[in-house]
């Protein structure tokens, strides 16, 4: 009895698991549980009205082959979730009503019984190819070029006649290179009819000349593709090795870019601290929370812009910069006036007080915005990446890098070229003398702290583009920021720059070798040892007012 029960328990725990795995092609929730219809329906539009992905895909493929102008409209509607299905046909939803996709006629705007045509990644993939096929015949020059890139990225043997036809078309003369590359990609992909050896080898050479990861991917597959001639496969293998070598060389440059980009984030987050902590001697543990406030300001500005001046939505990020500077800076002045000013001369106690401030700020944000992340969008012009030689430069990282440089330059200018900067330096170097010369030290203190906090706000705007915007945002940056300032040498902006570069590039250089965590630990240990050798950081500040 006991054994039987046990066996039963064991079976319930195990047996069902492989059982469903074999019934792999599962069904959409509302669909009848029968297999996809066997007979081929009348046309593509009927296919697409199905709830089965197989049928929808077949429909999309047939639309691509059809070459009809209306097919393109249907495909674009499908991509935008504007294609509705019902009564064995599909309708395009427009702003005014429904249009029958098959006929292009207006249809009665009765939405009952209609459902959006289902999409999944496979449909999307087919959709992209089908649209490329249509555009290659109907599109503008630029659209054709994009279409060819799409065809080359996902080569399909059935596309070969289309390409051959396009090659024969004299209007495509300027696209010959792209056309040939796409053709080469198809010749080297599974399902293609074997062609003459010389043509195969030419295809390998053409793809190899393109270089890059996509070419490597294509050639690695070709190297194992049996229908291709052995010589072709061998050539493909060699081409892969050669691309690999080039990728490896470019890889060092890429790591350097990653390092510089990490450095610019570190520098941005540390720069405000270099002012509040480095110049004023306030151990400002609420620095991270001031960044968080900047990030939440970005979120608010984006919301407000979207609500009131939607035309400016793509540029809300730029609008957020001054707002975040003012909000964080104002908050900083408030903190300085209400807390910090009572603690001058007791820097280590500013640590405790500002830690208290940071807890309150965190919880305040949690109370107002809730504990979850908020979504800050990345504007279109900051998205994506571009190639620079073999380097892949992500736009947003490049923008942050440039932004860090700009903030650094502006800060240096403020410190060196403005009366405020002069006063700030005077107060730092010899407070009493400065006061005797008529500088209102209290006001300078407040403004200096405000400046540092405002820069933290700017860093928050930048960080909102690459990281979470949550009440915990500040905690992730505070330790690194302090490390940068201390490692560089307190009170020295250039030291912070050098430290950020060393930590960023060092970290990214170590990451591929020993992993992110071990790299970080190693760096921390190195910084600890470095400070033992150079107790005042890389660029210690010299001067009479500084010595203890």
């Amino acid at each position: 009895m006991r054994k039987a029960l046990l066996a039963l328990a064991f079976c319930t725990a195990l047996a069902c698991q492989p059982a469903y795995a074999q019934e792999a092609p599962a069904l959409p929730p509302a669909a009848p549980s029968v297999a996809a219809p066997v007979q081929t329906p009348a046309d593509a539009y009927t296919d697409m009205a199905s709830t089965h992905f197989d049928a929808i895909i077949r429909g999309v493929e047939r639309l691509g082959r059809s070459g009809e102008a209306r097919a393109l409209a249907a495909l674009q509607a499908l991509e935008a979730h504007k294609l509705l299905a019902g009564n064995d046909t599909v309708y395009i939803r427009t702003d005014t009503g429904l249009v029958d996709a098959r006929t292009g006629q207006n249809a009665p705007a009765d939405l009952t019984g209609l459902h959006p045509v289902r999409l999944n990644n496979r449909v999307r993939q087919t959709l992209a190819s089908a649209r490329a096929e249509l555009l290659l015949a109907q599109g503008t020059q630029a659209e054709r070029r994009d279409a060819l890139a799409q065809i080359q990225a996902h080569p399909d043997a059935a596309m070969l006649p289309v390409l051959d036809k396009a090659l024969a078309d004299p209007s495509n003369k300027s696209l010959a290179g792209s056309l040939n590359a796409a053709r080469a990609a198809i010749l080297l992909s599974p399902g293609a009819q074997p062609v003459a050896l010389s043509e195969q080898l030419a295809a390998v050479a053409a793809i190899k000349a393109q270089g890059g990861l996509a070419a490597k991917s294509l050639l690695s597959r070709a190297a194992t593709l049996v229908p291709l001639a052995p010589q072709t496969r061998e050539a493909a293998g060699k081409a892969v090795a050669s691309i690999d070598f080039r990728l490896k060389l470019w890889g060092y440059g890429q790591d350097l870019f990653y390092g510089v980009s990490l450095s610019s984030v570190l520098l941005l987050s540390a720069m405000g601290l270099a002012i509040t902590f480095g110049v004023m001697g306030v151990i400002n543990m609420a620095h991270g929370e001031l960044m968080m406030v900047g990030a939440y300001t970005t979120f608010m500005v984006e919301r407000l812009v979207a609500a009131y001046i939607p035309a400016l939505a793509p540029f809300s990020l730029i609008l957020a910069l001054p707002v975040a500077f003012v909000v964080s800076g104002g908050l900083g002045i408030l903190i300085e006036r209400s807390v910090i000013r009572f603690l001058y001369g007791r820097p280590l106690e500013t640590l405790l007080a500002s830690w208290g401030v940071s807890l309150i700020l965190q919880q305040a944000i949690r109370s107002v915005f809730g504990p979850t992340n908020v979504a800050v969008t990345t504007p279109g012009w900051l998205g994506g990446s571009f190639a620079l030689g073999g380097l892949e430069i992500t736009t947003v990282r490049l923008a942050i890098f440039l932004f860090a440089i700009a903030v650094m330059a502006a800060l240096t200018l403020v410190l060196k070229r403005t009366p405020l900067g002069l006063h700030m330096r005077a107060v730092t170097q010899n407070r009493r003398m400065a006061a005797l010369m008529g500088i209102r030290t209290a006001r300078v203190d407040a403004l200096t702290f405000g400046l540092g906090s405002g820069i933290a706000g700017l860093a928050g705007v930048a960080v909102s583009q690459i990281d979470n915007v949550s009440p915990n945002l500040g905690q992730g940056y505070i330790i690194d920021s302090f490390l940068v300032v201390v490692f560089g040498g307190v009170g020295n902006l250039w030291g912070s720059l050098a430290a950020a570069l060393a930590l960023g590039i060092g970290g990214k250089g170590l990451e591929p070798l020993i992993g992110a965590v071990s790299g970080k630990i190693l760096l921390l240990v190195l910084v600890i040892l470095f400070i033992q050798r150079h107790p005042r950081g890389m660029f210690p500040m010299r001067g009479r007012g500084i010595e203890s």
Partner: protein, 374 residues
């Protein structure tokens, strides 16, 4: 910063701690029906507070007396805790989930087949005890020797202590380290053959923690009230002058640093015995900062203040996480602000009957960005 070298209060605090712990321990053994009975929940809680008080005392020794603001003392506490945790893990033996007599559960789970070398000997209590105190002491000795020799001070020292605990936290978070990764060590059953969940064991552990805390308090009082304590304060207040008088400030500081690490490790070991879990979260830099705040709240440089601060803040945390779960962080933040702004001498400052000369009222004119003796 003034320092009163008599520490009369420390003696009374030590006595109070011991008496309270022993009384609570006995009360917890009374039958549940008795009016004086104390629930095991309160016993564990008190054990936790007293272990934290040891950490606070350790911080007070280096911050209050030597002027070294440590932002990494939780590292020594956690190392002590891990040392004890390793021993307790080995004590589980074959009673783990997988019934493996040699390997802790988390190693079986990650398909390890052999015990890593640094776990050797952890099944013997004596070796473990030596490790749980020795490792933090050696680390502190090495770190302190390097730092004090090259005269790293003030903020620089604070930040590298923070870097130290941060690096250790990252390391212990890694599952590959063989310390249970994020989960840490837990699921303990026995210590020296006594069932950890038995009321008798709990009561004994609480009484033991109280006794150790009392003994450490008396020891610290003896050390700080004597010649060494005066030297330490001299180093704290004017290190260069002490050096010119042919003392070796680095050696003076190193001694208190290592002693303090030992006390913290002891606190960690006792903490694990009563809480039953140790994980890398204990290394978090925020924990070290919090320990500093306990001392600030209680009053630095007073020994008694450290104990009072640790107990008060943690009691408040226990209460407010239950009563005002959504708002207690405001209270905690406000407490830190209020302490630094209005209670520069902490609770102990309030208790002193005669208000002292306002020597702490430093005007903004005397800024000291390096802050070596704040």
């Amino acid at each position: 910063m003034s320092t009163d070298f008599s520490f009369r209060s420390a003696r009374w605090t030590a006595l109070a701690v011991v008496v309270l712990a022993v009384v609570l321990a006995f009360a917890s053994l009374l039958p549940q029906s008795s009016a004086l009975s104390v629930s095991p929940f309160v016993v564990t809680l008190c054990g936790k507070y007293l272990s934290y008080a040891l950490l606070a005392l350790a911080v007070d020794l280096v911050w209050g007396f030597a002027g070294i603001l440590t932002l990494g003392h939780a590292a020594f506490f956690a190392l002590g805790a891990y040392g004890m945790g390793m021993y307790l893990t080995r004590e589980i033996g074959a009673r783990g989930v997988y019934g493996n007599p040699d390997l802790p559960d988390f190693m079986v789970f990650l398909s390890w087949h052999r015990l890593p070398w640094y776990w050797w000997g952890s099944n013997h209590f004596a070796i473990s005890l030596a490790l749980m105190l020795g490792v933090p002491a050696v680390l502190a000795g090495l770190f302190g020797w390097l730092a004090f020799r090259s005269r790293v001070s003030g903020v620089y020292l604070s930040i590298i202590t923070q870097a130290l605990t941060y690096a250790l936290m990252l390391a212990f978070f890694q599952n590959g380290m063989g310390f249970g990764g994020n989960n840490g060590l837990t699921g303990f059953k026995d210590v020296l053959g006594f069932d950890l969940t038995a009321p008798g064991t709990r009561a004994t552990l609480l009484a033991l923690t109280g006794l150790i805390l009392g003994a450490v308090l008396m020891g610290a009082r003896f050390l700080m009230g004597g010649r060494y304590g005066r030297l330490l304060v001299a180093v704290r207040d004017t290190e260069s002058r002490t050096r010119f008088l042919a003392y070796r400030p680095e050696q003076i500081k190193l001694l208190v640093w290592v002693v303090s690490a030992l006390i913290a490790a002891l606190g960690g070991a006792l903490y694990v015995l009563q809480i039953g879990i140790v994980n890398p979260g204990e290394f978090a830099p925020a924990n070290s900062i919090e320990a500093v705040i306990w001392v600030a709240v209680g009053g630095r440089g007073t020994l008694t203040g450290a104990v009072i601060g640790a107990v008060l803040v943690n009691l408040g945390k226990t209460l407010f996480t239950a009563i005002l779960p959504e708002f207690w962080l405001y209270g905690l933040g406000a407490l830190f602000l209020a302490t630094t702004l209005f209670l520069p001498h902490g609770v102990m400052g309030l208790l002193r009957h005669v208000p002292r000369k306002r020597e702490e009222e430093v005007t903004p004119e005397i800024t000291n960005p390096e802050g070596s003796n704040a």
